[in-house]
Symmetry: C2
Subunit: 468 residues, 2 copies
């Protein structure tokens, strides 16, 4: 299938670059096998392909130096944040240097009046929100993992509340990026909008380190909601739950989160988190607003659910009950694994137009059954995005092959329904093979032309997204 | 100053292309002077630089044919929608062929469940919303002029309700674009989000026809609000009004529109629209939501205004009163002109972080006074975006020079405050000279590299945004 294949290696150039980097960075250049392996870390079935060395940088100037040294000697460059990506984004199929940005973890400036914050790329999202708490503002994107903001921008991350707050594409105002010449590109100003020039911000968001290294981000912030209500609503079928989602969004209820758990996932959560949720498809919903507003939103959602035979919708504004609810959702992955002791899984995701969501999930569930796999399904269904976590024994080659084929069918099904191969996990190595089918030859040629124009040597994260 | 300068012309190639286009398109190829002048139309001081011919296309295949013929003979290509742009976007400094897309004005498909619509590029926004009315959905972006959707995407348009619904960047889901080879690039699928590959959608949005011709758009729709409230609130100063805007947005009130009129503009509107508004800085605001929701939002805004010494805030949910209010806002340009009979004006716009808005407007008003110009100010202040309309006598060369210098200072002031040279009017010819100061050399080099990669001959709308 091609993913994870080792590419041509420029051994001499890499060795020379490592020698010069060692002089420049001293002990902050590591070639220890464990360090290299950890920096090629991946949560797929893809084999680990470690970089040849890891450099721990402490400033944008050091990023520029490292890039220039690598570029001078043709050594591949792979930016590293927290290592939480899921599709082999960090593997080094052509070897090269991992540039670890985790020490660049500071808030540079908070502009509370402008609802923005300037941060270094290595800051993690939980730390950012902890440090913002006193301002009454927060950064909403929550991909589950405690990722770095640089990595979240690079992979165009989203998560549970994208339905209300958008994805990284909507919440990055500006970037500083070190390009292939070692120059710093500033993509935009702090103004909320601009119509001057090509949208470089959005070009780098989602480029997975293939066009440059993000060294600073200006992010949009949002006011912490005055009140939050959240609740659980059971439905007889995934189709009825999906219909409730469509009506909720069509009627303009500004739902902050609307998550689907199928009955397999609910059973797993009950067992793992000691809950007594009804073991049917469930929607977990959350509303942000004023006290009166969140009560009204919850009431209107409850009416929609009831009209579709769902409910009862039980909701609360009490913080501790909400936390218990969302903890179960956040533990869904671990709960799923516990369904079959000793097995492993990985989460694949696709996204379809919301009108196709029920059909896409129903066919996926039938496929799981026909294939003899257990695979809980959870989804950010307000966006038409869902995850399936097929469980398998990694030591059983036949089962691994079965899961790979199943994941391929999930993607093909989504593409056939005008969807995308990934709503939020990205391409990495794992989904490169689907890109041409999704985007078409002309778009792929356009992406390749951009890659060649901005990275003529093809050194930034080679073997990801697009062949130059 | 360079703008509007005639560039190198490939006369022989253009003549050959016109000959072949005439064979292919018959009477739909026009070289009539009036037609050519109208297609180089511009609402700035820039001199008219008409294309050599205009082709009226009726299908995407015809766009491909026209582009291929032009590309084969090195003839520049300028896409034309409605001719409502403001910065000389349609001028033809190197001559060439205007491709008129206004006959491509159909809705291709409405997907009500998915809240999206697929349209041809020549449909105008008022027609689109008229045709959508029965669905209960609408397309929110309103740049004032009844522009085409293709043109609005190409210039990254926004308008009065961008503060709530975003700009074209946020409301285009996917595009079909005819590229320099005459191939059709599809930028995305209909899924609400995707993390697969470079964001070509956002690259073309705002590219002003310099990278390709948009031949189809998939747009996000929004539910028509159940209730709307709108009102007027006077303030003692622009600074107090700006502070009210900041607090409104910080406190999470989902204001749909929040527009500032300075006292000069209010005086003009009173005279022109026979109104009796208080002649102080005013905010015009509008809220969308449920009946209870819009009442609550209006009440909370009123409290904020009162705390800042503003008010009384008078608001209504009655449709005819709201229409009267917004008609005055929409007529602001004509009202401004009427302040000085026989003069002309043009609207320039900048955008700054909202914390700098009051200072930016105050300095601009002082500049107007020092320069001896009358210039009403109106602004989409929720975004930090404002327009100033200096009035001048176009026959008075000294006054024209004075206005040009003033506009330059408006832009420089915005840039000095971390703002942008244009929040929504775009670059065209008029603002090219400010781009390097705004974006820096590395970003300009990146834009030029993208331009060269996607349009190697430099034929798409030459002399705009970036020199290849």
């Amino acid at each position: 299938m091609g993913e994870g294949t080792t590419q041509h290696r420029n051994d001499a150039g890499i060795a020379t670059a490592i020698g010069i980097l060692a002089q420049r960075f001293g002990e902050r250049l590591s070639t220890a096998p464990s360090m290299r392996e950890q920096h090629g870390h991946t949560l797929t079935w893809l084999a680990n392909q470690p970089p040849d060395a890891v450099v721990f940088v402490r400033s944008e100037d050091e990023v520029r130096d490292a890039v220039r040294i690598c570029a001078d000697h043709g050594a591949p460059i792979i930016p590293f944040g927290a290592g939480t990506s899921l599709e082999g984004h960090l593997n080094a199929p052509s070897g090269g240097i991992s540039i670890d940005l985790s020490a660049l973890d500071q808030i540079v400036a908070v502009h509370a009046e402008d609802l923005d914050v300037v941060v270094q790329p290595g800051i993690r999202r939980k730390t950012l929100n902890d440090q913002l708490r006193d301002t009454g503002l927060f950064f909403p994107i929550d991909p589950g993992a405690d990722a770095t903001l640089g990595g979240m921008a690079a992979t165009r991350a989203s998560g549970t509340n994208a339905v209300r707050y958008g994805t990284m594409k909507d919440n990055v105002l500006a970037l500083r990026v070190v390009d292939a010449r070692g120059e710093v590109v500033t993509t935009s100003r702090r103004a909320r909008k601009s119509s001057t020039g090509y949208d470089l911000t959005r070009l780098y968001v989602g480029s997975e380190g293939t066009l440059g290294i993000i060294t600073e981000l200006t992010l949009r912030l949002h006011g912490l909601p005055e009140a939050i209500s959240a609740g659980i609503c059971p439905f007889a079928s995934v189709a009825a739950a999906a219909e409730a989602v469509i009506l909720t969004i069509q009627s303009g209820i500004p739902v902050a989160r609307i998550e689907l758990l199928d009955e397999v996932q609910v059973r797993a959560c009950n067992a793992y988190s000691k809950l007594t949720l009804p073991e049917t498809p469930l929607l977990l919903v959350e509303f942000h607003g004023t006290e009166a507003g969140v009560a009204e939103q919850a009431a209107r959602f409850g009416e929609i659910a009831e009209d579709l035979g769902g409910g009862p919708f039980t909701w609360t504004t009490r913080a501790e009950e909400r936390t218990r609810l969302w903890t179960a959702r956040h533990d869904a992955y671990w709960a799923g694994l516990a369904l079959r002791p000793g097995c492993t899984s990985f989460s694949t995701d696709v996204c379809v137009p919301i009108s196709r969501l029920a059909a896409c999930i129903a066919e996926t569930k039938a496929d799981l059954e026909a294939t003899g796999l257990i695979g809980p399904i959870v989804g950010h269904v307000g966006d038409g995005n869902f995850h399936v976590l097929p469980l398998f024994d990694p030591a059983d080659a036949a089962e691994v092959a079965k899961v790979k084929a199943f994941v391929g069918r999930v993607v093909e099904r989504a593409l056939a329904m005008e969807g995308t191969a990934s709503g939020e996990h990205g391409v990495g190595q794992g989904k490169m093979k689907y890109l041409a089918a999704e985007h078409g030859d002309a778009a792929m040629a356009t992406m390749a032309a951009i890659k060649r124009a901005l990275d003529p040597q093809g050194l930034f994260n080679p073997g990801k997204i697009v062949a130059p």
